[in-house]
């Protein structure tokens, strides 16, 4: 048994941020008696606008993109049908259930987990707020392409929010469309590729139609987070390295699982959707110190989401899985013998 559990359940990047980012956060700690300086907030906003290739006026900051998604649903679900996909980022589902006066979930069916665009277009006959995580969490699939986004936002009665939390891994973004598409918004986070999950920096790149929701939305960010985020954006090379290492590891784990005849979906993120026939796999892995996400509340039994860790962590997961599978198969054979 390992001392510390191997955390492959939260889609964090396993590599810590570079030393200068940590030192910047420490500088922020020295200012904990003060609220964040508006100038610093403006600086971060400008850096994120530059990083995303959009105008600063479209960028709104928040301690976590889930808060922004919640705000959008809260504000724009009045008089609109809310359309989400299922499964989806769980806080989005929760907020939609809480605030929507009319909610339609479009089920992504295994094994393909495709979004049926015709079905979605059929639903857009009345004023709608559509929220799609792209890539989808937990399937790791790209659900929307540019042409689909164009088609959805053609109707000005429709507001489309694309959650791009894993954009750096997928490389697919619609942020550049926001400046002339008022009814489109994109949410992003620095939690993942920037190795800043503990800092909780989220942002939305919103078209003009969303202006009402955010005209009075002003989030003070914690000083250490703000300083760390600014420093991180000054050193974007480490983000590229992070992404490269995670993608290489993801593909390696995917290949090995495939060779082991485990059903695992292709992913464009830093996690893999795995289908297993071993009952209670989440508990069995936890018992040997490996944490993965149980998806039994969102998908048919046997699906788990496994975040990509370091090479060593991933090897531990694979070795643990093989060991559990062997034990399970031996146990099954023993049962057969007993029944016979």
């Amino acid at each position: 048994m390992l001392k510390e559990p191997i955390k492959l359940n939260m889609n964090e990047v396993p590599y810590p941020p570079p030393q200068e980012v940590i030192e910047a956060a420490q500088k922020g700690l020295a200012k904990l008696n003060r609220y964040a300086d508006p100038e610093d907030l403006g600086r971060l906003r400008g850096l994120l606008a530059g990083y995303s290739g959009v105008l600063e006026e479209h960028v709104v900051l928040s301690p976590g993109s889930d808060i922004l998604l919640r705000e959008v649903i809260h504000t724009f679900s009045k008089g609109r049908k809310v359309i989400i996909v299922s499964p989806s980022f769980f806080p989005t589902v929760q907020a939609a259930k809480q605030f929507a006066t009319k909610l339609v979930s479009l089920r992504l069916s295994p094994p393909e987990f495709d979004l049926d665009l015709d079905l979605l277009m059929d639903e857009l006959k009345e004023a709608c707020l559509v929220i799609v995580d792209n890539p989808n969490n937990p399937t790791g699939k790209i659900l929307l392409h540019r042409q689909a986004v164009e088609a959805i936002i053609e109707s000005t009665d429709t507001l489309l929010v694309v959650d791009e939390a894993y954009y750096e891994f997928s490389g697919v973004t619609f942020a550049d469309m926001v400046h002339d598409r008022p009814n489109l918004a994109v949410t992003r986070t620095m939690d993942k590729a920037f190795s800043l999950a503990g800092a909780r920096i989220g942002y939305i790149i919103a078209g003009e139609a969303f202006g009402d929701a955010f005209s009075s939305f002003y989030a003070f960010l914690p000083q250490p987070s703000l300083y760390a985020a600014i420093e991180a954006l000054n050193h974007p090379d480490y983000v590229r390295r992070n992404v490269q290492r995670v993608v290489e590891e993801r593909e390696r784990v995917w290949r090995i699982l495939n060779e082991l005849a485990v059903h695992v979906c292709q992913s464009t993120t830093n996690f893999l959707l795995v289908k297993t026939e071993i009952p209670d796999i989440v508990k069995r892995l936890r018992d040997i110190g490996i944490l993965v996400l149980d998806l039994s509340n969102q998908l048919p039994s046997g699906f788990v989401r496994v975040s990509i860790g370091t090479g060593e962590e991933n090897n531990a997961f694979i070795a643990g899985y093989i060991k559990i599978r062997e034990a399970y198969l031996n146990g099954t054979q023993m049962n057969v013998g007993l029944r016979g």
Binding site: P87, T101, K102, L103, L106, R107, S109, D116, E123, N297
Partner: protein
């Protein structure tokens, strides 16, 4: 070298469904006949056999007469009849012939029937050879069954191609309890099946009885009842979600049967096909409200065979209301139909909106 494949058909399986008898175990079979029930296994068996692509690679051993022989005569296949049966067939015939087939070297056994038949096959052959189970019973709770006769044919082909095998459950429920609206299921054993998981029927899950599930059903019921039209006949299918709708309307509900309401009043209880068609003479506007039963995802074809193809066709796809809790829907790959009429099944396929809460829907794919 050809694969030796056996075929055993339970000729009375599924006959209780259209007359509302919830099974044909024991003496109930005679009651089904008196009520005018027609055999359903010939069509299912035929559907399966006609879709097997690897016929040339198979040597067939079949049970005699209506237990197998009669159905293979229509196909250009060589077959050997195993054993003998009398005028009336029984579970003992199934067991004896299955055991004999295994002794004669059968490598795969196809059988058509319901949970009772699966139980008999298990008693006879245990894990000695794999099986392909063609669903034809009234109540099919065992995951050993293929989702449809067509899927069963694909499993036979997969076996011939050399796929490995896996264990699946044989369950049975107490038919006496089932007829008294009590669902008492138990694990009976395991059979081996060709490992083609997507074609299997997921094992029936116990209904979720958590508080949140009860609340969800109340929400669904409140919305469905609010949307009801006083001039429409509503046929309420089996299941606890429909029970919640009946409770919201303050009318009694047969848990595993079909009841009918019109204008807020109960106008039919535990209806069979004849009873439903009788109500159609009196009520022009009709809707069916159904929920996927247990963990199977079937909205038609399992547990509610009183909704025959004729009943469903006369109601129309657009008048089918599907309800179910979000938790239950999340656990399903999709919804499924297996009415016994392929054309109707295909018509029912595609997306359907399932009411999962108050003004809350989920668009879910229906497959057959």
């Amino acid at each position: 070298m050809k694969n030796i494949v056996g075929l055993i058909v339970n000729p009375v399986a599924g006959m209780g469904g259209s007359v509302g008898l919830k099974g044909t175990d024991g003496e109930t079979y005679k009651k089904a006949l008196e009520l005018g029930a027609q055999p359903v296994t010939p069509r299912r068996t035929n559907d399966c056999l006609s879709r097997i692509e690897s016929k040339d690679d198979i040597t067939l051993f079949v049970a005699p007469g209506k237990m197998g022989e009669e159905y293979v005569e229509a196909f250009d296949m060589l077959f050997t009849v195993i054993g003998a049966v009398g005028e009336e067939t029984s579970a003992e015939d199934t067991k004896r012939i299955a055991a004999e087939m295994v002794n004669r070297g059968v490598e795969l056994l196809i059988f058509a029937g319901g949970d009772g038949t699966a139980r008999d096959i298990y008693d006879a052959i245990d894990s000695k050879v794999p099986v392909v189970a063609v669903p034809s019973g009234v109540k099919i709770f065992s995951s050993v069954f293929a989702v449809s006769a067509r899927a069963a044919a694909e499993m036979v082909d997969a076996f011939v191609e050399g796929t490995d095998v896996t264990e699946e459950e044989v369950l049975d429920i107490d038919e006496e309890a089932f007829r008294e609206d009590r669902l008492a299921s138990r694990l009976y054993g395991y059979l081996l099946v060709p490992n083609v998981r997507r074609f299997l029927q997921p094992g029936k899950a116990a209904s979720n009885v958590s508080v949140s599930s009860i609340e969800s059903k109340k929400e669904i019921a409140a919305y469905v009842v609010e949307e009801m039209d006083q001039e429409t006949l509503y046929l309420l299918g089996p299941g606890t979600t429909l029970e919640a709708i009946a409770a919201e309307m303050e009318v009694p509900k047969t848990l595993l049967g079909i009841d009918a309401v019109f204008g807020g009043e109960l106008v039919g209880t535990d209806l069979n096909e004849k009873g439903i068609l009788g109500l159609f003479e009196r009520y022009g506007k009709r809707k069916i409200i159904v929920t996927p039963i247990g963990g199977n995802g079937f909205i038609f074809g399992r547990g509610s065979k009183q909704f025959t193809p004729e009943v469903i066709e006369r109601v129309g796809r657009e008048n089918i209301v599907v309800v179910g809790t979000r938790d239950k829907l999340n656990r399903l790959d999709c919804l499924r139909v297996d009415t016994g009429d392929f054309e109707l099944d295909e018509l029912l396929c595609g997306y359907m909106e399932v009411t999962v809460g108050y003004k809350e829907g989920m668009m879910v794919k229906v497959r057959c």
